[in-house]
Amino acid sequence: MTIDTGAGERIAPSRSGFLSGAFDSDVHPNFRNGIRDLAPYVESTAMRKRMGLLDAPRGSAARVLRGDNVVQVPGAEMRLPGVNYTNPGGTMRLDAMPPDGGPPGSDPRFVVTDHLDRHGLGGALLIGGGVLGLGGIPEPEIAAAVASAHNLWLEDVWCREDPRFRIALVVPPQDPALAATEVHRWGRSPAVAAVYVPGTDNGMAFGHRHYYPIYEAALEYGLPVVTHPGGESSGTNTAMIAVGKPEYYLEFHASIPQVYMRHLVSLVVAGVFERFPTLRFGLIEAGWAWLPHVLWRLDKDWKGLRDECPWLQRPPSEYVLEHVRFTTQPIYEPADPSDLGTMMRLARADRCVMFSSDYPHWDADAPEMALRRVPRDMRRSLTHDLPSDFFRLGR
């Protein structure tokens, strides 16, 4: 079979230019050769040995003598955990493959032209596509080493290519002390826009005191904390077992917001925003259309259950609107498109939702197409004002 592909029609930047200079809160840089890409950034020989990367890029570090030849034993390289469910079509936008091959999102120059420049974006938060499941690595010290190497890789390969790329500094949720060390290493770097705690499902929602050392460290540098799905069901994490684990990718993927409803309620009820009154927390790709229901119910229940959490001085929804931010993708597509504005008003989106594309994942939004139904008077808060304030852009 032969396939000729011509220059496909590409979406032109919007004439009104409402995306010009916008900040995209969710872009995924991916490895070209898997974890081997990190080998140059793991300083400790012992840790490279532990990760099976001593011989990278040649491959496995384990070798045995077979006859007169030394041969490599496959499988000694560590595997980065990822979602255990299989998407039959893969999880990448297939048109986002770099021209010279390699996985979508693995060529920084191509991401600049194919995404940032095409839409006139002013910046993008890089959330490592290879480390979404970092919280499911069983060994805390290895998770910390992968995180450190990954952050160096982001700075060296991505931020050097274009300063509009900003680092979501990945840290290991398994070990908050090691996570805090990583934050202290980078806290003053202008390339870092947020501390990224990978979505996890280890029995402790984000309000749990387990995580407080990470929040304290982030606050020392005025950095927001963000999280993102992908850890659920990865590696040693359980599979969002609220009412039994999903059996299909579709079930897993459509149930993601359930996990973040729990994280949000946990953050508020545990009093995280009373304990850390200046903490900013981003739930990236967690959805937002469910906010009217969850916040109303939380406020309603709180009125009769204040004895349980007397540390909450205000209705729970007020903490959310002040401290927590959500992102647009996947943009909701109500049957009557004009209802999108109503949904956004109900969710108070002008106060808490930021623009994101999720490039180059399979469920990414085309920025102009996704935002064209957003009422004009709400667009700028999504694309410019809220991200600028949340990430302290231009500080």
Binding site: M1, I3, G6, E9, I11, L94, D95
Partner: protein
């Protein structure tokens, strides 16, 4: 009405696909089991280059927990969100109201394949 040359018909084999530029409109011509079909290379959902996606068969409906697959390659799958469109009529497999634009394809006396675009389409 405008006509656009795609190429010699005898070079167009079952399974082949060719994408042409029709005055700024990107159009794909597919050979499905010996019959030619033309679709606009533009997904009606979010504008992705639909026709650069995978062509394949379809999973057939059946009773729960059973799988039947028809291998005849009758759909093209959008490279972004994996929505399927029937190459023969542009219809979305999931949403009957959603269509990719289709165009007439003709093999003329000169043995070349042409796509016909009526004005404004």
């Amino acid at each position: 009405m405008s006509e656009y040359l795609v190429g010699p018909a005898d070079e167009f084999l079952p399974g082949d696909r060719r994408i042409i530029d029709a005055d700024g409109r990107s159009i794909a011509v597919f050979n499905v089991d010996g019959v030619l079909h033309a679709l606009r290379n533009y997904c009606p959902h979010m504008g992705a280059p639909l026709c650069e996606g995978e062509t394949r068969g379809v999973m057939l409906p059946g009773s729960p927990q059973t799988f039947r697959y028809s291998e005849r390659p009758t759909v093209v799958v959008c490279p972004w969100h994996h929505w399927e469109f029937d190459i023969r009529d542009g219809r979305s497999s999931a949403d009957p109201a959603l269509h990719a634009r289709t165009y007439p394809v003709e093999v003329r006396a000169d043995a070349n394949v042409y796509v016909v675009v009526r004005s404004g389409r």
